[in-house]
């Protein structure tokens, strides 16, 4: 199978249909961070119970072990026969009730998989009885890859379900509070965004990973604005906007100065205050320029497992005069990335963009032997001779100009003291 089938030139990628079609899921390293359980457990005072065949549960169990949330995660193993015959409902109900009896958390996410989705199992009665018997909220969710592309992804649905805990809380709107949505790790303490917002009178930034109780989480309903750092939160943000009247802006994690400047402008408009970032921007530029200069001549590949958009990072590096040679994408181009791709196409029309899950790409490393730096552990799998810079969202969550400097810190550190791609994947768990 020719490698060409797995890639497309930026100049030819203009519509969704242009992205290389993978005849089978070639199992590239391309699904990092696809974790509905992890998403559910962001909600404070919650546990998660997943029910389904062992094979499906095993997948999620690995994520629980890798991310250290086994304590709040339970699995109920069901046979396909029981599921087909509808005999599993009683068992699930009993199993969840048993678990609920020994836990103090107020919320239980009951997650089912593809089989129940296909069978159309109706859990309404089970949930109603469980809520009545346990006094806890029980929320049904799905870990159902069979729905990919047709409905919101399971983790977007789970994140959106958090709205149930905001819609009815007593509100006292606070113009000096901002929500930060779409993060798994809280914004780093150094927090350029904290300082910038504080200087404009925004005293508090609320983030779900920092809420330890539902009461704290409920305060998000009273914030003035939501700043969305990842498309995962678009559903929840939409409800906050539409049903509770919170203003919002979409500012996905970015690395490039023009994009970051634009993001601050969006935040400024959303919070209705002038944000003065000129000094920060100037200082960052001054610091970054010689460091970017030092990377000139290095050949770069970028993968989709980075925190942020590989297209945006490629655009920034190319604008900075660096040499980006390959880009690995997941299922195509996300809506907000098309505009970036338009600009990218003008700068480097021959940039190759690969479908990381295409079977023709599996095991093909020789076309990327010349790459010096690979951003993202997925790119690192293909670029054998490159130093690998994961830029994983499990490392740190940065925002603004400090994210550009973090990118450079990480790159320099990797060049000076490289960690193998194998170790990033198998010892640091950055691929799941």
């Amino acid at each position: 199978m020719l490698l060409d089938q797995a890639g497309v030139c930026a100049r030819d990628l203009r519509r969704k249909e242009d992205f290389p079609f993978a005849p089978l899921e070639g199992v590239g390293p391309n699904l990092a961070g696809w974790g509905v359980i992890e998403t559910c457990l962001l909600l404070p005072e919650s546990i998660c119970v997943m029910a389904g065949p062992s094979a499906c549960l095993r997948h999620s169990a690995f994520m629980a072990h890798a991310r250290g949330f086994t304590e709040r995660f339970y699995m109920l193993c069901l046979s396909e026969l029981d599921m087909t015959m509808g005999k599993h409902l009683e068992k699930v109900e009993r199993g969840v009730a048993d678990i609920a009896a020994r836990r103090s958390e107020k919320v239980i996410f009951l997650i089912v998989g593809c089989p129940d989705y296909i069978l159309g199992t109706d859990f309404t009665g089970v949930i109603a009885r469980l809520e009545q018997a346990t006094g806890k909220r029980v929320i049904l969710g799905a870990m159902a890859p069979i729905t990919i592309g047709l409905k919101d992804s399971p983790f977007t649905s789970a994140y959106t379900a958090f709205f149930d805990f905001l819609k009815d809380v007593p509100r006292s709107p606070d113009p000096n509070t901002v929500n930060l949505l779409g993060t798994f790790m809280p914004l780093s303490d150094s927090g350029e965004l904290y300082r910038t917002l504080a200087a404009a009178g925004v005293q508090e930034v609320l983030q779900i990973p920092l809420c330890s109780t539902l009461e704290q989480f409920g305060r998000m309903a009273s914030a003035r604005t939501s700043v969305v750092l990842h498309p995962l939160a678009n559903g929840l943000n939409g409800k906050l906007e539409k049903e509770l009247g919170l203003s919002s802006c979409f500012t996905p994690t970015a690395y490039g100065f023009p994009t970051i400047a634009e993001h601050y402008e969006r935040i400024s408009q959303a919070v209705g205050r002038t944000l003065d970032v000129s000094a920060v921007a100037e200082a960052a530029r001054a610091e970054a320029e010689p460091r970017l200069e030092a990377l000139r001549g290095k050949r770069i590949a970028i993968g989709c497992s980075i925190n942020g958009s590989p297209f945006e990072l490629a655009h920034f590096l190319l604008q900075s005069g660096l040499q980006v040679e390959a880009l690995f994408a997941r299922s195509g181009v996300r809506p907000f990335e098309w505009k970036i791709l338009d600009d990218l196409r003008d700068i480097k029309p021959d940039l190759m963009i690969y479908n990381a899950s295409h079977p023709a790409l599996c095991g093909r490393t020789e076309p990327f032997d010349h790459i010096d730096i690979a951003y993202g552990v997925d790119a690192g799998v293909f670029c054998v001779n490159a130093v690998n810079v994961p830029l994983s969202r499990y490392q740190e969550q940065k925002f603004g100009y400090e994210n550009t400097l973090w990118l450079l810190d990480q790159t320099e550190q990797a060049l000076a003291d490289p960690v193998s791609n194998y170790d990033w994947i198998y010892r640091h768990n950055f691929l799941i």
Binding site: L24, H65, C77, S79, E80, L150
Partner: protein, 401 residues
């Protein structure tokens, strides 16, 4: 219905299929939604890393199930298998194909006709033990590739059931393979670890019927051993030799002799009652080592895979290291295993490190880590440990020191 909290559910049927077929240069298609094959590769198949497309997903979506778009998948598989130049295609079932009753056999026939490649299916779902999935894969592989007229090799031996989910990296099995060769046996087929140096990894499978004997080293090798006796008259011996006495006993069984007397004065430890948790043949090997090499008086085995065929009487079996103790158990239930581990008289537990958290706080039992890849997969894949022959003896001795 079992509840898991600290443990991972063990690998199931189609994981076993992947484990059995991975090294034979085929294309294993997980006939289910996206994600299933991805997880096998990332977690359960460390051999995936930078390797060619071997285990791939069909990527079935909701509308495909509703509309029955089988033709689309046949086209996709035909295209990928032909262009990737794989040696065969294996379709393996998932919970979805099980629930909607996909005719995998029919699909396999159509793919074989269109590609000209040997194609077969393994009827797996998402709940059966991985050893059964691997077993089904071995039978299918044998049906497709074994040559009934393979030349007879009087000293030839096949090793059956050597799947990575049971035995870990090939390097761990190597002392056994070396030992067999040193004993004068000629290795014909090692399922599933093709011998290095050969051009065609399936050659060992083709030649396997010509061997004089089969050695079954895990539960997933029994069905194939029985089949090979019925079809080709090749008898088998069961056992995985861990440590010194196990190897001596196995050598005798392979020669058709009675195992030697156990050493009268083995190494002594203070341990009185050990519990070994894991794959049944491996666990039996560890029991044998603890008892006869180190003098532990009571050793019970918790087999997390069915032992059925391993213990049943069989005309085909020439000898076995397997035994059954009164306190042995066959379960993969987290609560039951936790109770057995925390029994007051158990002073040593040999198991995958994932079981360690089940030991209650303050428990006095010594824990000896022995990764079971079907439990912990990549989490403990690289852990330093050994089991086979003298290397296994050395590892246990070091842990007991």
């Amino acid at each position: 219905m079992q509840t898991y909290h600290q443990l991972l559910p063990l690998a199931t049927g189609y994981f076993g299929v992947s484990s059995a077929l991975y090294d034979f240069d085929g294309l294993v298609v997980i006939y289910g939604p996206a994600g299933g094959a991805w997880h096998i590769n990332i977690e359960d198949e460390p051999r995936w890393y930078r390797g060619p497309a071997t285990v791939v997903g069909a990527g079935i979506l909701e509308m495909d199930v509703i509309l029955g778009n089988e033709n689309k998948f046949i086209d996709n598989i035909v295209r990928a298998a032909s262009e990737l130049k794989r040696r065969f295609v294996a379709l393996t079932g998932t919970p979805i194909s099980e629930i909607i009753g996909t005719d995998l056999r029919g699909l396999a026939r159509m793919i074989e006709t269109r590609t000209g490649l040997p194609t077969f299916m393994t009827p797996t779902a998402g709940s059966e033990p991985y050893s059964q999935g691997a077993s089904k894969a071995f039978l299918a592989l044998a049906d497709k590739f074994m040559d009934p007229h393979a030349p007879k090799r009087p000293n030839g031996i096949n090793v059956l059931g050597a799947v990575h989910l049971s035995l870990g990296k090939e390097a761990h099995v190597q002392p056994l393979l070396d030992g067999l060769e040193k004993e004068g046996f000629e290795l014909v087929g090692v399922l599933s670890a093709p011998r290095p140096g050969g051009g065609d990894p399936l050659q060992g499978v083709r030649d396997a019927p010509g061997a004089a004997l089969n050695l079954v080293v895990s539960a997933s090798g029994v069905d194939l051993a029985e089949r090979m006796y019925a079809q080709y008259g090749v008898p088998y011996v069961t056992g995985l030799p861990v440590g010194r006495y196990g190897w001596a006993a196995l050598q005798a069984l392979l020669r058709g002799e009675e195992p030697p007397q156990a050493p009268a004065a083995p190494e002594r430890t203070n341990l009185r009652h050990a519990l070994v948790i894991g794959e049944p043949v491996m666990s039996e090997g560890v029991r044998c080592c603890l008892r006869h090499d180190f003098g532990v008086p009571a050793v019970d085995v918790v087999s997390v895979q069915p032992r059925g065929g391993l213990l049943q009487a069989s005309e085909a079996r020439r000898g076995s290291l397997m035994s059954s103790g009164p306190a042995d158990a066959e379960t993969d239930d987290e609560q039951e295993i936790a109770a057995l581990m925390n029994a007051p008289d158990v002073d040593c537990v040999v198991a995958d490190p994932c079981y360690r958290p089940l030991l209650e706080e303050g428990a006095a039992a010594r824990f000896i880590p022995l990764p079971h890849i079907a439990m912990s997969a990549r989490i403990h894949w690289d852990l330093p440990y050994e089991y086979a022959l003298e290397a296994g003896y050395g590892y246990v001795a070091e842990q007991l020191a």
